[in-house]
């Protein structure tokens, strides 16, 4: 555990909401508006935290647990998330499964809390979130498996440390690009971003992630927003790690991942400005494409290593 690793963790906790602000600012620029300040997500969080929470009488302790579980799961995933070529705060063999499980736990908490309200819209949002997550998760796991096979490492930090530009030229190296594309799709789907879910929508019928947070208020809503921001950062490091594979020293890696995350937010903003949301029935098709890319990458890396 190095000082840079702990610093990365602290920076992630501090800057995670900023990424949404950057993406929103880029979108505003595309629409010809000035847009909200980049720091607006922080103001929103502060405003929500000052408010009191209102709880419906139909809800139980599950409803209050949900947002906490959401933040805890995303934070746990962040602890093992690699940053460029640097080692995460905690890195052990098999932490790629831990990463996926922590994110799944966060989602499980949010879904349970949404179902606990008994609201029809929240149930609908929960059902969609569960469906799309069930389709996105295999792509993430198979993609990680392909990377593990290609690099011979079993921890996220080890896998991303083994990713070098020279690796691409080796037989089966193209598999890495396929996994990068698959992770890009998973990143957009899991963070409720545009082709899958529109973060700006105010129509409950088309919402996925937002629909689950309709009955949360005050500090609970703040926790849900913050948990989503942490999840954006945790999954973002997986994508940005491909873009910024720097290996000479922990501090350059830290700078590279910060730049990579910033670029990723800008890219999300641009993508959301130029793309339209997919029809809900088309989303499984989009996620199946990610799965196909991951499986192809796994076959390629297994073939290149001479396995069966």
């Amino acid at each position: 555990m190095s000082a840079a690793a702990i610093l990365h963790l602290l920076i992630a906790f501090a800057l995670a909401p900023l990424m949404t602000g950057v993406a929103n600012r880029v979108k505003a620029g595309f629409a010809g508006r000035t847009g909200a300040p980049v720091l607006q997500p922080y103001y929103d969080l502060a405003r929500l935290l000052r408010k009191g929470a209102v709880y419906s009488t139909t809800t139980t302790w599950v409803f209050r647990l949900g947002p906490c579980l959401g933040v805890a799961g995303a934070a746990a995933a962040l602890v093992v998330a690699p940053w460029g070529g640097g080692r995460a705060t905690l890195a052990f063999d098999g932490d790629l499964l831990f990463f996926a499980a922590a994110l799944a736990l966060a989602r499980f908490g949010t879904i349970l809390a949404a179902l606990d309200t008994g609201s029809a819209f929240e149930g609908m949002g929960a059902s969609r979130e569960a469906t799309f997550a069930a389709l996105a998760e295999p792509s993430l796991l198979v993609g990680l498996l392909a990377l593990a096979r290609a690099s011979g490492e079993l921890s996220l930090s080890g896998i991303y440390h083994a990713l070098t530009p020279g690796h691409l030229a080796a037989p089966g190296g193209v598999a890495v690009l396929l996994v990068a594309a698959a992770f890009g799709i998973v990143f957009l789907a899991e963070n409720a971003r545009l082709p899958v879910d529109d973060p700006n929508t105010h129509l409950e019928l088309t919402m996925i992630h937002e629909a689950m947070a309709l009955d949360h208020g005050g500090p609970d809503l703040a926790l849900i927003h913050y948990g989503a921001a942490l999840k954006f950062w945790a999954l973002g490091t997986l994508v940005a790690g491909f873009v910024a594979p720097v290996h000479d020293g922990a501090w350059t890696a830290l700078a590279a991942i910060l730049g990579g995350m910033f670029l990723l937010s800008v890219a999300v903003g641009v993508a959301e400005s130029v793309m339209a949301r997919l029809r809900l029935a088309k989303v499984p098709n989009f996620l199946a494409a990610a799965f196909a890319l991951s499986v192809l990458a796994l076959l390629l890396s297994a073939h290149a290593k001479g396995g069966s």
Binding site: L168, A169, A289, L299, L300, H303
Partner: protein, 214 residues
């Protein structure tokens, strides 16, 4: 050059997945045309320095035919007909992609069993060719629209062509030209059939043919 060949082969596999997942007939036609161009360029990449004039001519002829002539014929057949998208195929698009995912390891295992090494740096060519063949077959089995069926047939032809590349680097020009002529004639006939189906039933849905009684 070896990485380049590998990239081309993977792009061929990706065009197959795109064929399985897209519902628009015109998109399918363009994808299969792109696949033909990729395959036509492949022998030029794998043979390295030993490029002969004949290989270039062969690549040019097969590329022009697959990229311009056949798509032109097919696009003309779809024009006027409301062949924009196929809404109710026998097997849905997401299921088709997942079936394609299941076919990938099968093609890889079969391709290895065959023991075809292929040209240098393209040991994945035989599995990719088998995969293209299987995907073409899958499209023919699980789609209804006449034009999409022809696209499946073209994908199968691409697979056969790729298989030929894997078996023998320098296929005799005559054999390849013979196959191309067959495909050309077949697509021509199928384009006419599609027009007739359209004129008779006002749709390109081949499922409607079952309403014909003898």
């Amino acid at each position: 050059m070896e990485t380049f060949a590998e990239v081309l082969i993977i792009l061929v596999v990706l065009t197959n997945l795109k064929l399985l997942g897209s519902s628009r007939a015109t998109a399918c036609i363009r994808t299969v045309a792109a696949q033909g161009v990729l395959l036509a360029a492949l022998p030029l990449v794998t043979s390295g320095d030993a490029i002969t004039l004949r290989m270039i001519a062969q690549a040019l002829v097969s590329g022009t035919l697959k990229a311009f002539v056949l798509p032109f014929l097919l696009l003309r057949a779809t024009r006027g007909a409301r062949a924009g998208r196929e809404l109710a195929p026998f097997v849905g698009y997401t299921t088709s992609i997942l079936l394609g995912v299941a076919l990938m390891p099968l093609a890889l295992a079969l391709g290895r069993k065959l023991g075809v090494t292929g040209p240098a740096g393209a040991d994945l060519l035989a599995p990719a060719a088998l995969f293209t063949l299987l995907v073409g077959l899958l499209i023919i089995v699980c789609r209804k629209q006449a034009v999409t069926l022809v696209v499946g047939y073209l994908a199968m032809e691409n697979g056969i062509y790729a298989m030929g590349l894997a078996f023998a680097q320098r296929e005799p020009l005559l054999v390849e030209m013979g196959i191309l002529l067959d495909v050309f004639a077949a697509v021509f006939v199928m384009g006419l059939v599609a027009r007739h189906i359209h004129r008779e039933f006002d749709t390109l849905d081949t499922d409607r043919l079952s309403s014909l009684k003898g």
